[in-house]
């Protein structure tokens, strides 16, 4: 039984995670609309107060009336509007996401194009798209982590994920993990008219190098390091306290302490291989031998 479960996730090639444009994509306009209405209501309240302070009259009778210190909010109004727009949409779409999860709980497995799971996957992705875009457009670096937590990714303390693509579900990241620039963490994979969904779990104290791809089903144990420019295959396991390199990952190196690596570097410097004149000769000889 277990063997069958494993073989279900065997793939010949890695593609990407991605979603088609479906009728449900209109939800972005709906989210825009909700954010806009909240903006209008708050601005109406604010402009009413300012008008009262200027003239002594009100457009709409409101209690409490404007106070003098509300003038202090005027220079902030543009930036506050941006933050208000973003966070109202984030909260609203987190609600939609929970409703979708209640209607059809997300599952791991392989699903055909057009099946119920496939449709709900698209719906979840499109609800998550706009709030995450907003969170990353705001100049608050922690905003996107907060939003990912809203959408059901478990992210620990002091985690660095600013510059990369991350799927909005089936991902678990431990404390103190650092990720580098231009990474992709996929828990979904498009595979010949099918979608493959498997949970990715990343432990504590992990380091993920730049330009890497983590494909679905990858398990990174505590303290594992993934080197730059490498990628993992589906359902691969990276063992703890080791450096993993390769396309896909096939080599491992032990993690050295700083003193050890400095000693090694000094040895290499002293040896003739890296000496300016000798190195040229070595390269030429190598060429002859071949």
């Amino acid at each position: 039984m277990e063997k069958n479960y494993e073989s279900k996730f065997k793939v010949e090639f890695l593609s990407t995670s991605g979603v088609y444009k479906t009728p449900f994509t209109v939800i972005i306009l709906f989210q825009f609309f909700i954010g806009g209405i909240i903006l209008v209501l708050i601005n109406l309240w604010f402009s009413n107060h300012l008008y009262f302070l200027l003239t002594g009259n009100q457009f709409f009778l409101m209690e409490p009336r404007g106070e003098w210190y509300e003038w202090l909010l005027l220079p902030m109004s543009l930036y506050a509007n941006i933050l208000l727009f973003a966070f109202s949409i984030i909260l609203f779409s987190a609600g939609i996401f929970k409703v979708l999860n209640w209607l059809h709980p997300p599952q791991e497995g392989v699903f055909k194009k057009g099946s119920k799971d496939w449709k709900y996957m698209h719906r979840r992705f499109w609800t998550a798209y706009f709030p995450i875009w907003l969170a990353r457009a705001i100049p608050l670096p922690w905003a996107d982590i907060v939003v990912f937590r809203f959408f059901g990714i478990r992210i620990g303390k002091n985690v660095v994920i600013y510059e990369g693509y991350i799927d909005p579900e089936f991902i678990e990241i431990g404390d103190f993990t650092m990720t580098s620039l231009h990474i992709c963490i996929f828990s979904h994979l498009i595979y010949q008219d099918k979608v493959l969904i498997k949970k990715v779990s990343i432990g504590t104290n992990c380091i993920i190098g730049p330009q890497t791809i983590i494909s679905p089903g990858t398990i990174m144990q505590d303290g594992a390091i993934l080197g730059a420019n490498s990628y993992t295959w589906v359902c691969q396991e990276l063992k703890s306290e080791l450096i993993h390199v390769g396309t896909p990952v096939d080599k491992t190196f032990p993690i050295q302490s700083l003193e050890e690596s400095q000693l090694k570097a000094e040895k290499i410097k002293k040896s003739k291989v890296f000496d300016g004149q000798h190195s040229k000769i070595n390269i030429e000889k190598g060429g002859e031998n071949k």
Binding site: N43, L78, Y129, Y165, C184, Y231
Partner: protein, 246 residues
């Protein structure tokens, strides 16, 4: 789909510095011209709302005014750059081939001019909240052919000599380059991607690559220049090699 704004950026197409310094006037005129509809809109907004008894409406619609301004700027940037592009293409129609990387070479010169004209709309439209706005909408005006039901929102696609078929999936962060620079030579060659092709994440296609119907390129691999990927087959590696037929 969720890549941060700092990674989306503008086009990385290099523009020769000798040409850029002389013809930066075109770049600035496109920017200034594309702001004219914005200022017209702003003028109308002031005339309409800045009256006695309507001040509150002025402040109420101010955030929406700015939102509308951004969209007007993005559409007008496309319009004016297409206007300049058609003029440049009438003077010297674009063609494929290997050329000398020199200002006196006409093809190389006009390729750079075309890139100057395209720079501003591609830069502005990268900051649109709708994911399909930059690639599927803007690039179609600038001269690429992209079919229906294509996932291509997070790839960097060259803005000319590219033809993409139907039902194609292009990966996260992959690049499609139709130009190549080899020392003193400059190469422009068409890339054709057939129907139902799947390209993985972090791939790069070099100039002259032809992907036939149903070909698949695995993630994190690149193709050689002028490589032909056969029908219904899987390619993988650096550079891409045939894995096996389905």
């Amino acid at each position: 789909m969720f890549s941060p704004a700092s990674l989306k950026g503008d086009s990385p197409t290099p523009i020769d510095e000798r040409i850029r310094n002389k013809y930066i006037v075109i770049y600035f005129t496109i920017i200034i011209l594309s702001f004219i509809p914005c200022s017209l809109f702003e003028y109308l907004y002031f005339v309409f709302f800045w009256k006695e008894g309507l001040y509150w409406m002025f402040f109420l619609f101010f955030p929406f005014n700015i939102l509308a301004l951004i969209y007007i700027l993005q559409f007008s940037a496309i319009f004016f750059s297409v206007l300049f592009l058609t003029i440049i293409k009438m003077i010297h129609p674009p063609r494929e081939g290997t050329f000398k990387r020199d200002i006196k070479d006409k093809d190389y010169f006009y390729w750079n001019l075309r890139n100057i004209a395209k720079k501003w709309p591609l830069f502005v439209n990268a900051s649109n909240p709708f994911p399909w706005f930059k690639n599927r909408f803007t690039l179609r005006f600038l001269g690429t052919k992209i079919g229906k039901k294509v996932i291509c929102d997070n790839t960097w696609i060259s803005s000319e000599f590219v033809k993409i078929g139907k039902n194609v999936i292009l990966g996260m962060g992959s690049t499609i380059l139709t130009f190549g620079i080899e020392q003193e030579r400059f190469i422009l060659k068409r890339i054709v991607i057939g129907n139902g092709v799947i390209i993985g994440a972090h791939c790069s296609l070099m100039h002259g690559t032809i992907m036939k119907e149903g070909a698949k390129l695995s993630a994190h691999s690149y193709t050689n220049p002028n490589q032909v990927l056969e029908k219904d087959s899987i390619y993988i590696g650096h550079p891409a090699k045939l894995k096996r037929d389905i």
